[in-house]
Symmetry: C2
Subunit: 149 residues, 2 copies
């Protein structure tokens, strides 16, 4: 399992990833995420999640200079690749990447999780995230602090 | 009518543009185009097409360093804004932008047009484009040469 940056050679694989039925309402598709990556191109890094040479998912890390925190956006595992533990393993790779502090120096990591997405919430909690108290009717913010690599 | 670069303040307006029925098969939606803009971010410029302060369409200019030419990608006018001459006017603004040679120095401009998209083809011909002879089963390449601004 490794993360590889999205670029000329692999973006079409990211375009072709499929959200599992029911997950469209929780997570943006990688195409939409990459469109946002264009806008925030100086502060983000979108990745394909690879098992051997196969892209099985997608995730983006973005640095919020105002909040001084790393945000994890739009993590998804292709519908055909779910239930194999890839989400958990990819999440560890994401945290390793953030620990290198590729943008700002903060160790704060945040993400939001749809309150109905219990599978994701359980995963984040198992990795050390907890609710920050910020939430709206749909999304709950979860945070943790990482040390420098 | 003016072109404004896509950025943090207006990308959601681009996301919300709608292709007219039947045009989905001719042109990528701006979301998909912006995802490609991320990949080619060092050689392209995506724009919203504005009338007064309203985004009525979208277009991307990309420089092909191999072919040494400016390519016009994914130009579209929102379904509600068609039939007002905006496509033609926007096209003139695009050519003006290319004449400033924002990337490479070439004056060659190219685009491809679906062979069934006769409205677009007529527009391009009226602006001085002609078929280059490169074509596949779906798309015809059209080219012209512009002088420096």
């Amino acid at each position: 399992m490794e993360l590889r940056e999205i670029g000329e050679d692999n973006f079409l694989d990211a375009f072709n990833l499929k959200l599992a039925p029911g997950q469209e309402r929780f997570v943006s598709h990688p195409v939409r995420s990459l469109a946002q990556a264009y806008v925030y191109r100086d502060q983000c890094r979108p990745f394909g999640i690879y098992v051997k040479d196969r892209m099985v998912g997608y995730v983006m890390v973005i640095y919020d200079y105002d909040a001084q925190e790393y945000d994890i956006w739009h993590m998804m595992i292709d519908e055909k690749e779910q239930g194999k533990g890839y989400g958990s393993e990819a999440f560890d790779r994401v945290i390793e990447f953030i620990r290198t502090k590729p943008f700002g120096d903060s160790g704060r990591v945040a993400l939001t999780c749809n309150r109905d997405n219990s599978a994701a919430m359980k995963l984040y909690e198992s990795k050390g995230f907890s609710a920050s108290g910020n939430e709206d009717s749909e999304e709950i913010e979860m945070v943790m602090t990482v040390d420098q690599a």
